[in-house]
């Protein structure tokens, strides 16, 4: 028997003609911690979904290639199959029932039962629980993880670090567990807890379980993994033993793009030294994108990029400034303090926002293009209105003229200005959002994920449009994007956000390693490069 516990052989997957995985080969050996790393959208989740037989894969036509477990080709058609094959997953968000004890959670749906009078008549579902055996089993699993806690403690009120361990205990308590997947296990843990966890992972591996460790924290990977596989844009970049590589090396492989960055500077750019927006200690409570004390200054006429991995808080910044999620801190705009949690006032001060949530926040899908374009300016600046004393009526002609102008300027492809925005393509919807922001004639434009979900041709148009607005109208732009390449194409400077804070500010021409390391929270780039 070979040492290979799990092997992906030439695995490819496309969603509706869009290839997200291309010929991935990866082998996990017995007792090995195999790190899997890649930017958002590199294909990590898709690969794991294939391993777990998630419905999302099979409903979209399955995948190509093969998955072998212990050298045998295995067809995993559902998460239940995966469980039977001994594949377990430690979830990032805890799936525990707070009111149950640790043992009950660990044994949930796999309870040890004893027969009684009722169950002899009514069947197995009526059997009693063997708490003694369950507690003993749970205690054993906890002990494997070096956890000193009683198994009859209630889960509610335990620190998050403990909950993570209970999740793991549940997986290892399953008999015959062979492969355990950790998906960003340390994301919610404090440093000390994370160290504990890494030690536990090591111990599990030593007991013969194969571990797939997904993380974006390069240092953890270097310290715990035996092997690392790097994915980028659905392709397999490299698999290397950890001794032959380094955090800098991994970062470069993760970001590196063959395409040269196509930057052209207009000669008459007007970036003054005047700071137009100054953010001090901004905290935003946006679920999944917490901002924990951002400090950032933006100069007038500049395009500032905000990058970083998903969930690190980059999206929270613009949402916080606009008052869409509760925020606190100090934001100074044009020398005046900007009131937080007050969208109306922020809009009136001359800030416009193109949201990352195009369909939810960005558009009224059941309304016409023209109303969408003019709405914010109408409600906040009393434009496009005819005043009849007590009541202000909309000025249909002015709205239509303006909308037609915008449709022509931004090349919005539509049948008429009355077409509902819900029936437009993603790129054209994005242009409507930008058109609405421009109608406000803002001094500062916040754009979040402007190219998400739109095709490549439209991407370039939107980016060119932003560049044109900046160059021709001198508009200050803050662009938040998950796509580093596009930030590096048009921004003057790029702030990388990690764990809710600005990890550093880079120039678009800085090296791939610099971006990669900073995105995983490593800031002492110079020293590492020399080392």
């Amino acid at each position: 028997m070979s040492d290979n516990l799990l092997e992906f052989k030439n695995v490819s997957k496309s969603f509706y003609g869009n290839q997200v995985l291309k010929n991935i080969n990866m082998t996990v050996k017995k007792g090995e911690v195999h790190a899997l790393i890649g930017e958002n959208g590199a294909g990590k989740s898709t690969l794991m979904n294939i391993l777990f037989g998630m419905p999302a894969i099979h409903e979209t036509g399955g995948f190509e290639g093969a998955v072998e477990i212990e050298g045998k080709e295995t067809h995993i058609r559902s998460p239940h199959d995966a469980m039977l094959e001994g594949i377990g997953m430690v979830h990032q968000e805890f799936m525990l029932i707070p009111g149950f004890t640790i043992a009950e959670n660990i044994k949930l749906n796999r309870e040890i039962t004893t027969k009684n009078v009722v169950s002899r008549v009514l069947g197995k579902r009526m059997e009693g629980l063997n708490y003694k055996q369950m507690n003993a089993d749970a205690q054993k699993a906890l002990k494997t993880l070096d956890m000193d806690i009683e198994s009859y403690t209630q889960v509610a009120g335990l620190p998050v670090g403990h909950m993570q361990f209970i999740e793991i205990a549940r997986e290892i308590d399953k008999s015959g567990i062979k492969i355990l997947v950790f998906d960003e296990p340390t994301a919610v843990l404090a440093d000390a807890e994370a160290q504990n966890l890494l030690r536990a992972i090591r111990r599990l591996a030593d007991s013969g379980i194969g571990i797939i460790f997904i993380s974006h924290r390069l240092e953890e990977i270097v310290s715990v993994a035996d092997t690392v596989t790097v994915l980028r844009d659905g392709t397999h970049v490299a698999t290397k033993p950890i001794q032959e590589t380094s955090a800098v090396d991994i970062a470069r492989m993760m970001i590196g793009r063959a395409v040269t960055l196509d930057r052209e500077e207009a000669a008459d750019r007007m970036v003054s030294d005047e700071v137009v927006l100054d953010i001090r200690d901004l905290h935003v409570n946006m679920p999944g994108e917490q901002v924990k004390g951002i400090e950032l200054s933006v100069r007038k006429g500049e395009i500032m990029g905000i990058g970083g991995l998903a969930g690190q808080g980059k999206l929270g910044i613009a949402n916080g400034i606009m008052g869409i999620y509760p925020s606190k801190g100090q934001v100074t705009f044009k020398g005046k303090e900007l009131p937080l949690n007050n969208s109306r006032q922020v809009i009136r001060e001359g800030v416009a926002f193109v949201s990352e949530d195009r369909k939810g926040v960005g558009l009224l899908l059941d309304e016409s293009i023209e109303l969408n374009i003019c709405f914010t300016a109408m409600q906040n600046q009393d434009k496009f209105l005819k005043n009849y004393g007590i009541i202000k009526m909309r000025d249909a002609k002015e709205i239509r003229d303006h909308a037609k102008q915008m449709i022509a300027d931004l090349d919005i492809r539509c049948t008429s200005s009355q077409q509902h925005t819900g029936s437009l393509s993603g790129g054209n919807q994005q242009k409507v959002c930008v058109a609405r922001a421009l109608t406000q004639k803002p001094d500062l434009l916040l754009v979040s994920e402007p190219t998400r979900g739109i095709d490549i041709g439209a991407k370039k148009l939107v980016l060119d449009l932003l560049k044109r607005l900046n160059q021709e109208m001198g508009m200050t732009i803050i662009m938040t994007s998950s796509e580093l390449a596009e930030l590096r194409t048009i921004c003057d400077k790029i702030a990388i956000v990690c764990d809710g804070k600005v990890a550093g500010i880079l120039n678009p021409t800085d090296s791939d390693e610099a971006f990669g390391l900073m995105m995983s929270g490593i800031t002492d780039i110079e020293e590492r490069r020399e080392a």
Partner: protein, 353 residues
């Protein structure tokens, strides 16, 4: 951007299949009535009259639907405000047109105040507005039953013959106000058809006013709040204030609606009469093609004529077909509640953000 010719499928999509089915059924009923020897002119005359009576009550659904709080199941709140205006105007001794306008004036003032608090209530229970509204309507009706009994009004036109409190039905002909709006410029065509011009004009005037309001800055804001909370919030709108404004408007329309209704009916009905008024109005606007989230003035007009037409014609016809039984009330409940049930199954759960 020239007008395109619509295919039959698109026309169905635009008007809505349920509306077309109901309309076809109405035509069928009228034809059946004709063959059963009923006077179609009488049926149509009744239809127009009842549509005019109920029109503004149905119109009251529009602002609340547009603001995202769903059809105004708490219509009885507005209705009670209107009834209070009516009895006050009688107590103060107004008659004829004076009574009519005084009733409307008083009820608008009252409905504005009550609508404000009702709006606040709805803002506190986001997500379950329709259920809360239904019970708010029931509660206010019960509360007003108490008030009608205890109110120390002295007008002999309203009191019981012995004891205290107001009568269950108050005749309006004694103050010269019965059919006062109906008969304004009213005319007859043939022996069986009467057109209540004044009332229909009054209804259309309000349709115009409400339609115009939804083209104003505030009206557009209310519609935006109703279709997407997150969009509106990001555009600097105060969601709660817009919802309150819409519900004040809805309550006022309910109040004016009952004044028009009562004068045409000839009686002001107190106590339990307002209890189920919301359901007929909700059913009417939904038949007209509105959903629980989107409605237009055209839905109100189409809906009130179809729904009231169905009720007024189906019942005599049904009574003739199933002679000897009294199916009318049963039929009315089946049709009305069936329509509401259908429409509520179409409500998208959780709304749109």
């Amino acid at each position: 951007m020239e007008e395109k010719k619509l295919s039959p499928k698109e026309i169905v999509g635009k008007i809505g299949l349920p509306t077309i089915i109901i309309a076809a059924f109405l035509v069928f009923i009228l034809a059946l009535g004709h063959f059963m020897g009923l006077s179609v002119a009488t049926l149509l005359s009744d239809t127009v009259k009842r549509a005019g009576m109920n029109g503004i009550l149905v119109l009251a659904m529009l602002p609340s639907i547009q603001s995202g709080t769903g059809p105004n199941f708490a219509l009885p709140i507005g209705v009670e405000c209107g009834l209070f205006g009516i009895v006050c105007a009688i107590e103060f001794g107004f008659t004829g047109w004076g009574w009519f306008f005084m009733s409307i004036l008083l009820s608008i003032i009252l409905a504005t105040a009550v609508g404000y608090f009702y709006g606040k209530l709805l803002n506190a229970v986001k997500g379950s507005e329709m259920t809360i509204a239904t019970y708010a309507g029931f509660s206010i009706t019960a509360f007003m039953c108490l008030l009608w009994l205890l109110i120390p009004f002295k007008s002999p036109n309203m009191g019981w013959f012995i004891g205290q409190g107001l009568r269950e039905t108050i005749q309006l002909d004694v103050i010269g106000a019965s059919m006062i709006l109906n008969d304004f410029l009213g005319f007859s065509i043939g022996p069986n058809f009467y057109f209540p011009t004044g009332m229909i004009l009054f209804f259309l005037l309000f349709c115009f006013l409400v339609g115009a309001f939804f083209k104003s800055k505030h009206g557009i804001a209310i519609s935006a709040v109703g279709s997407s909370n997150s969009f509106s919030e990001a555009s600097g709108l105060n969601i709660n204030r817009n919802r309150i404004l819409a519900n004040i408007l809805s309550t006022i329309l309910g109040a004016i609606g009952i004044v028009v209704y009562s004068q045409s009916y000839g009686y002001a009905q107190l106590y339990n009469a307002p209890l189920t008024m919301a359901f007929a109005a909700v059913a009417a606007i939904l038949i007209g093609g509105a959903s629980a989230q989107r409605a237009k003035v055209s839905h109100v007009i189409l809906g009130v004529f179809l729904f009231q037409g169905l009720l007024t014609s189906a019942l005599p016809v049904a009574n003739r077909v199933f002679a000897g039984t009294d199916l009318s009330e049963v039929m009315r409940m089946v049709i009305q509640n069936g329509i509401i049930l259908y429409a509520l199954t179409q409500v998208r759960k959780g709304g749109k953000g």
